[in-house]
């Protein structure tokens, strides 16, 4: 019952805090008294908030359901709704609820955490006991997240619990090292303070956690209208269409089951007497659904996007997400580069997305590459940057690759489609169906080649670079036209690349690498004048010949 290999006895706290789920949010039902925020005595294991039973149960139920959903559906579609199938499903549902509830209770009982002796201890596991010790020196962040249900409970005024995630350095990117499913907000704050204070004591750093943190200032919020526009122009139709195509296979089966063939035939006959029209209609409907789905996806991930700055001005904070809250804190001093990305559906409307590349230090923590703001009129981008990252607020006129580089740009983009076209020609000839498809083939080939030529031209038009106020600005197109801004002192390496064809035309490609997240990103401008590249490379170095 009491699975405690701990040397001293654990006080059964459970009888002090009756799981009063109806308690108002401000009364913390756990033993830490909120007015002093004194955490429980050190190295005394504490349980999570009892509501974690619910969340663990739900997690367990979800994993069981997702495991059972395929065979369950197969059973349904395979045999229809006979009486015993229904009873089987009901029985399975009841078993699932009971098992999950039991699981939730057991895992709540088995999970304890404590802080002491310079480490954070987490013990959990029902069958497989697991004890984890995290030295506080290694703790990188203590994040609090409110999931969908937790926010719902909070909004309903039932209780205010959060999930706490403790992540360590070098645990791989995004790997949470300790997750506490439910703590009251006060407990979570107390735990974080405790960890920070202990760390501060150990590292001898001055300035522990102040009792009252000054509030961050909100720089910009995404309005609902902007959110919908962002979704409508996100250009993820391709991806959603692919998912839709995959899903529609199952849909086909359903149609066959629920509509007789004759009914479908008559439906098609009445809608459109000729096949071409049906195809157009289907494609149109497909595109529309994909578009709506991509809007929904954007809304899910970017709803409530808030960009704010901490009171001391050292951190930018990004919060977004409708169901799953995403939160990122970017130290201003670690920002390596800014990218202004104008998607193909956004550029015509003068809209862009801002991204930020930030780096960690050494191998200790990895920075992030994340969205700084999802949708902003291109004219306002520089103004926003001036407000939050003045160093990056440059928008100089760009120098362009010379006219003679255009041929290489077009060749580069046409080459793959030429290969594809010739392969198709060979395949059609070998299978001997070339006569039947000649018109289609020629039209398709012409469209493909001219589209890629146009794309090459657009890439040439987009390419450019400049050096302004110590920043290297480069612009290139890979579908979206992306302008990258990186201060000279952030460039980790710079390269000039030339192949014999470029040498013959006296052209060169320049690349600059910047740290980002755990690795780096490359900014590249292809086929610029060699002499430009040769002045640019030293100009971006640590000791530029003449400071621009």
């Amino acid at each position: 019952m009491n699975s405690e290999p701990h040397p001293h006895d654990r006080q059964p706290e459970n009888d002090q805090n009756h799981p009063t789920d109806g308690a108002p949010a401000d009364a913390s039902p756990v033993d830490s008294t909120p007015e002093t925020l004194q955490p429980a005595p050190k190295d005394e294991p504490r349980n999570l908030h009892p509501s974690s039973m619910l969340f663990e149960a739900l997690k367990q139920a979800r994993s069981l359901v997702s495991a059972a959903v395929i065979p369950g559906l197969a059973l349904l579609f395979g045999s229809g709704l006979s009486g015993w199938v229904i009873s089987l499903i009901i029985f399975a549902a009841v078993a699932l609820v009971l098992f999950s509830a039991l699981w939730g209770f057991l895992s709540w009982r088995a999970t304890t955490y404590s802080v002491g002796g310079g480490a954070f201890y987490l013990r959990r596991g029902i069958l497989q006991k697991n004890e984890r010790t995290i030295p506080l020196d290694h703790v990188q962040s203590v994040d609090t997240v409110q999931g969908f249900i937790q926010r719902g409970l909070f909004a309903a005024g039932v209780l205010d619990v959060v999930e706490v995630r403790i992540e360590t350095a070098g645990g791989g990117s995004g790997e949470t090292d300790a997750t506490l499913t439910a703590l009251t907000r006060d407990d979570a704050t107390a735990l974080r303070r405790e960890i920070e204070r202990t760390r501060a004591e150990r590292t001898g750093a001055a300035g522990g956690a102040e009792e009252e943190e000054p509030q961050p200032t909100v720089i910009r919020k995404l309005t609902t209208r902007e959110l919908l526009v962002a979704g409508a122009t996100s250009g993820q139709i391709g991806a959603t269409a692919a998912i839709l195509a995959f899903a529609s296979q199952f849909f086909d089966n359903a149609i066959e089951r629920f509509f007789s063939e004759r009914f479908v035939d008559e439906l098609v006959q009445t809608i459109a007497p000729n096949a071409f029209f049906v195809v157009v209609l289907v494609v149109f409907a497909f595109g529309l659904v994909a578009w709506l789905l991509s809007i929904a996806g954007t809304v899910l991930s970017y709803a409530g996007f808030t960009l704010s700055r901490s009171a001391d001005g050292k951190y930018l904070n990004i919060r977004r997400g409708l169901v799953k809250r995403y939160e990122a804190t970017v130290p201003v001093s670690r920002v390596q580069a800014i990218r202004i990305s104008e998607g193909i559906f956004r550029q015509p409307f003068g809209l862009a997305m801002l991204r930020v590349e930030s780096a960690g230090y050494g191998a200790e923590d990895s920075g992030v590459s994340t969205t700084l703001f999802p949708l902003i009129p291109i004219g306002e981008a520089t103004r926003l940057l001036r407000n939050i990252l003045p160093e990056f607020a440059v928008s100089p006129p760009l120098k362009r690759p010379p006219r003679r580089a255009l041929r290489r740009y077009i060749l580069r983009s046409v080459f793959p489609s030429l290969v594809l076209v010739s392969l198709a020609a060979v395949a059609l000839t070998l299978t001997g169906v070339i006569e039947a498809f000649t018109t289609y083939y020629l039209v398709g080939a012409a469209v493909l080649v001219s589209t890629s030529a146009l794309y090459g031209f657009a890439a040439f038009r987009a390419a450019g670079w400049a050096v302004e106020r110590g920043c290297f600005v480069s612009r290139a197109r890979s579908l979206a036209r992306t302008t990258s801004i990186a201060p000279r002192r952030r460039l980790q390496s710079r390269s000039v690349v030339r192949n014999p064809f470029q040498s013959r035309l006296d052209l060169a490609t320049i690349r600059a690498r910047v740290a980002s997240g755990g690795g780096g990103v490359t900014f590249e401008v292809i086929d610029i004048e060699t002499k430009d590249a040769e002045t640019l490379i030293p100009a971006l170095g640590p000791n530029p010949p003449n400071a621009t």
């Binding site: 001093s333 670690r334 390596q336 780096a359 960690g360 230090y361 050494g362 002192r489 460039l491 980790q492 390496s493 710079r494 390269s495 000039v496 690349v497 030339r498 192949n499 014999p500 690498r513 910047v514 740290a515 980002s516 690795g519 780096g520 990103v521 040769e534 002045t535 490379i537 030293p538 170095g541 640590p542 000791n543 530029p544 010949p545």
Partner: protein
């Protein structure tokens, strides 16, 4: 080994002459052996394909095609590219930057400011050890760069020099 001469115009080195130092001449031998080891299974696979194509009763030109193709690749990678690669590879360690030049077809000139280098390693595999060679790898926040196939003492020296020059590491 000569100290990389300090350019009289700092930072202007990228535009004019190549970096001054070459790799160890034995690098070519090591690369040849390496490429031979890589090429052997590929040649074997080519011969196997040819054998089956011949069993299928294909004409002579068709079944010799895969053999010729893989042999050509093998011969070029063993007898031609190592020499070209070695001739192209140059490096120089200036007071402020490491300067690298490499690439047979895509000639790449890379400059890495010393202030960005976080740490330096030397590595060597069994083949390199046999020839007394080592590779210097230096890491920046945006990834690693390397100077391959230096003789072991030179590699150690380069490592120490880069390490000494990167003492004044700036913040990221």
């Amino acid at each position: 080994m000569s100290e990389g001469g300090v350019e009289e115009r700092p930072g202007a080195g990228a535009s004019c002459l190549e970096p001054s130092e070459r790799l160890d001449p034995r690098a070519r031998t090591v690369w040849r052996i390496n490429n031979a080891l890589w090429a052997a299974p590929i040649v074997g696979a080519g011969c196997l394909v040819a054998f089956f194509v011949r069993l299928g009763g294909a004409p002579l030109y068709l079944w010799t095609l895969p053999v010729v193709a893989v042999l050509a690749v093998a011969v070029v990678s063993i007898f031609v590219t190592p020499a070209l690669r070695w001739r192209r590879w140059r490096y120089e360690i200036r007071p402020d930057e490491v300067d690298l030049q490499r690439g047979i077809f895509f000639v790449t000139r890379t400059l890495v400011p010393l202030a960005r280098i976080q740490h330096v390693d030397t590595q060597n595999g069994p083949l390199q050890r046999h020839y007394g060679l080592a590779t210097v790898v230096f890491y920046t926040a945006a990834g690693a760069n390397q100077i391959p196939e230096l003789s072991a003492p030179v590699a150690a020296d380069v490592r120490e020099r880069i390490a000494a020059l990167t003492k004044d590491q700036d913040e990221l």
